[in-house]
Amino acid sequence: MPIKVLVAKPGLDGHDRGAKVIARALRDAGMEVIYTGLRQTPEMVVNASLQEDVDVIGLSILSGAHNAIVPRVMDLLKQNQMDDVLVLVGGIIPDQDIDALKKLGVAAIFQPGTAMDDIVKFIRANVKGAGVPL
C-alpha cells in the first residue's frame, strides 16, 4: 500500500516552492502526499495528520522558527497518541540545532542540497507498520 505523507509548511514565511518540489518527488516515488499549504500552526498540522492517518509528516521550515514549532508539534503528536508517525524536518536548519531536534523525536533533518532520492530512501526504510514500499 502507498505510504501516506503529509507535507506542511508551518510558520509565517510564504515560500513553498521547496515543499511543492518535495511533494511532487514523493508522488513520483509512488507515495500519497497530502499537501496542506502555507502558514500552518502546529495544531493544524497535527489535526490534519490525525484525520488523514498519515505514516509520515514532513515539515518545511525556512523561517528559523523551527525551535518554536517543532517541539509543539512533537508534544501534540504525543498527546494524540501519534508517536508512531515519522517526523521529518527540511529547510534552513543550522547544524547546531540538529541534535536538539533529534532529541525531540524528529527522525531526520534534511538541509539544503539533500538529494531527493535520499529522502525517498529514508522514508521507505523507516516507515513503520502500514506503509510497504512499492
Binding site: 500500500m1 502507498p2 501516506k4 511533494a23 511532487r24 514523493l26 508522488r27 513520483d28 516515488a29 509512488g30 507515495m31 500519497e32 502526499v33 497530502i34 499537501y35 496542506t36 499549504g37 500552518q40 500552526t41 495544531e43 493544524m44 489535526n47 490534519a48 490525525l50 484525520q51 488523514e52 492517518d53 494524540n80 497518541q81 502500514a130 512499492l134
Partner: protein, 307 residues
C-alpha cells in the same frame, strides 16, 4: 448550538478509513470499531463534482462554513487522482479548507483515486458510510476533477451538485450525455467571469427541455457570493423525497457487475486458457474482438461454476 465530535472519534474514523482503503479489514469489522451515532438521524450526503479547477474545494469550504453555522457537524471526503504510472498522488483539496482545521465539528479526509476511474476512490462509498456511522450530520464528497463520464458520485450522494465555470463550451456541451444528467443542482462558479450568464442560460434551457427540476445557480465561491442560494437548494433537496435512492441502487449494481466481470476476466488471463488466448492474439491467429469474446465466455463460465 454548534455540535462537535470528540477527537477520539476523529482518530478512530481516520484509522477505520485507512483499514478499508488498504483492505486490512472488512467493512463490517471496521464498522464495529466505531461507536454508533447517537442522534439516530441519517446523514445528508452531498456530492460535489465538476471539471478540474472549477472551484469544487472552495465551494466545499464555503458549504462547511454554512452547515457549521447551522450547528451541524460536517465530514468531507475529497478525492484527487492517483498516477496510473507510479500510483503516487498529490492530494491538495485540503489547502482550501484549512481554516476549519481547528474545529472538532469538521472532519476532512483526502483519498487518492487509486485504480478507480469513476471519479471516486474504490472505497469512497465505504468511507462515506463510516463517516455517517460516526455521527456526522452532513457529508460532503468531492470527486476528482471530472470530464463527462465519471459518474460514480451518483451512487454515493443524496444530492449531486455539478460545479462548472463559464466558457467551457457552447450550448452543445449542455445537451451531451453524462455529467449533465446526474446534476440535482448546477453551480456556475466564477460568475464574475465573462460568459457566466450565457453558461447559466444554456444550462437552464437544457434543464427545461429535459423536464427535470434542477436549479442553476451562479456563485463566486472565493468571495462567498451566491452560497446562500446553494444552501437553499440543498436544503430543499434534503427535505424532499429524492428519487436518487433508485438511481443509487441501480448504479451500485452496475458498478458491482463491472467490478466482478473485470476481476473474473483478469483471473482468466492468468489461467492456461487465458494465456492461450493471449498467445494466439499475439501470433495473429485471433482478432482483438475474437479474443475479447473468447475471454468473456471463459469469465462467465467461471461465474456460473462459482455459483
Amino acid at each position: 448550538m454548534t455540535r462537535s465530535v470528540p477527537v477520539r472519534v476523529h482518530r478512530d474514523l481516520a484509522r477505520a478509513i485507512t483499514a478499508i482503503e488498504n483492505g486490512y479489514a472488512s467493512f463490517g469489522d471496521t464498522l464495529a470499531t466505531l461507536p454508533a451515532r447517537e442522534n439516530g438521524k441519517a446523514s445528508f450526503v452531498v456530492g460535489v463534482t465538476g471539471p478540474p479547477g472549477a472551484g469544487k474545494s472552495t465551494l466545499v469550504d464555503r458549504l462547511i462554513e454554512k452547515f457549521r453555522a447551522g450547528g451541524e457537524t460536517v465530514a468531507v471526503i475529497a478525492v484527487d487522482p492517483s498516477s496510473p504510472f507510479t500510483h503516487g498522488a498529490v492530494l491538495g483539496d485540503r489547502v482550501r479548507m484549512q481554516r476549519h482545521s481547528g474545529d472538532t465539528g469538521v472532519f476532512i479526509r483526502s483519498m487518492a483515486s487509486r485504480e478507480s476511474g469513476g471519479g471516486l476512490a474504490p472505497t469512497t462509498h465505504d468511507a462515506t458510510a463510516l463517516a455517517a456511522h460516526a455521527g456526522f450530520d452532513v457529508i460532503l464528497v468531492e470527486t476528482v476533477g471530472v470530464g463527462q463520464v465519471e459518474l460514480e458520485i451518483v451512487a454515493v450522494a443524496d444530492v449531486v451538485a455539478v460545479v462548472t465555470v463559464p466558457a467551457l463550451g457552447d450550448s452543445v456541451q449542455t445537451i451531451k450525455a453524462g455529467l449533465t444528467e446526474i446534476a440535482d443542482l448546477f453551480v456556475v462558479n466564477m460568475a464574475d467571469r465573462p460568459g457566466a450568464s450565457r453558461t447559466a442560460l444554456d444550462l437552464k434551457h437544457m434543464v427545461r427541455e429535459s423536464g427535470r427540476d434542477v436549479a442553476v445557480l451562479q456563485t463566486i465561491a472565493s468571495e462567498g457570493t451566491g452560497i446562500d442560494d446553494v444552501m437553499v437548494a440543498l436544503t430543499a433537496a434534503r427535505a424532499s423525497e429524492s428519487s436518487n435512492a433508485g438511481r443509487a441502487v441501480r448504479f451500485e449494481v452496475v458498478r458491482n457487475i463491472r467490478d466482478a466481470a473485470v476481476r473474473r476476466a483478469l483471473a482468466v488471463l492468468d489461467a492456461p486458457r487465458g494465456r492461450s488466448v493471449l498467445e494466439r492474439l499475439r501470433a495473429g491467429e485471433l482478432t482483438r474482438l475474437e479474443a475479447r469474446e473468447e475471454l468473456l465466455v471463459y469469465a462467465l463460465a467461471e461465474v456460473i461454476n462459482a455459483d
